[in-house]
């Protein structure tokens, strides 16, 4: 599995520099969340969010990075995924979270959709300097 290979190398991140890295991001997070014990539907929700966010990095900033942290406590598992780029930034974050708003001729479902699929979404963006998007998802386990 890709995530095992990366973990063995001590990596907790993946750079996004080409379109094929979107697939790599999905693969890593699919492996990781499955291993952690997330249910199939949650895995799909998380991987779909990763796909949207990794594509945002590639489309708007061309280059960026995805980092992850997994969390495990008795009865509870969690994953935190961070996307960071030095792209143009988001001028108006509230507007970007409105369904249907898009600067990239897409459907504008990406960010508002991610907000629905994940438990936590945090966006820090400086106009002209870059964007950091942090998402989290939790699940109860036996």
């Amino acid at each position: 599995m890709l995530v095992d290979k990366l973990t063995a190398q001590g990596a907790t991140g993946l750079s996004i520099t080409s379109e094929s890295d979107i697939v790599a991001c999905r693969k890593v997070i699919r492996d990781l969340t499955t291993q952690l014990g997330f249910g199939m539907t949650d895995v799909t929700r998380i991987v779909t969010s990763v796909s949207e966010l990794a594509r945002n990095v590639y489309v708007h900033a061309k280059v960026g990075e995805m980092r992850w942290n997994s969390m495990r406590s008795p009865g509870k598992i969690g994953i935190e995924i961070i996307f960071e780029d030095k792209g143009p930034g988001i001028a108006d974050i509230n507007q970007a979270l409105e369904p249907g708003f898009s600067t990239a001729k897409s459907m504008g479902m990406g960010l508002p959709g991610v907000k629905k699929l994940m438990d936590e979404l945090e966006i820090v963006s400086v106009d002209g300097k870059g964007t950091l998007v942090k998402v989290k998802k939790w699940a109860k386990v036996k």
Binding site: I22, T44, R45, S51, E52, M109, K116
Partner: protein, 120 residues
């Protein structure tokens, strides 16, 4: 079963398109072009998009499917999307995605039945 490339097969007047489990954006773009070119070449009247292997559908993929359906329709064809996995359907709905005017079927068999009825 793991499929790495897109498969487009002509069966009578229908194009059966099988999408691999985790298609790249490039492959999704190619799907659109390949379907339309094959439609013209084979003069097919129906398209079945078998997405039973697909385990993640984001807004880009859904938009391309919806657009392709519209293009197929402009070329006088009908599109049926077959075999969406339950997890994918749940996530797509939560995301607010739809497949436009495409018909849907549980599997390829059912998709053929829908097309046969509609096109006969």
């Amino acid at each position: 079963m793991f499929l790495k490339t897109l498969s487009v097969v002509k069966i009578k007047n229908v194009l059966l398109v099988t999408v691999p489990d985790d298609p790249s954006d490039k492959m999704v773009y190619e799907l659109q072009e390949q379907v339309l070119r094959s439609l013209e070449k084979h003069r097919s009247t129906g398209v079945i998009l078998d997405i039973s292997l697909v385990n993640v559908m984001d807004s880009f993929f859904a938009r391309t499917i919806a657009e392709t359906t519209q293009m197929v329709s402009l070329m006088s064809g009908m599109t049926v999307v077959a075999g969406m996995q339950p997890n994918v359907a749940i996530t797509a709905t939560e995301l607010g995605l739809t497949l436009g005017t495409a018909f849907s079927a549980l599997d390829v068999d059912q998709a053929f039945e829908i097309l046969n009825k509609a096109l006969s």
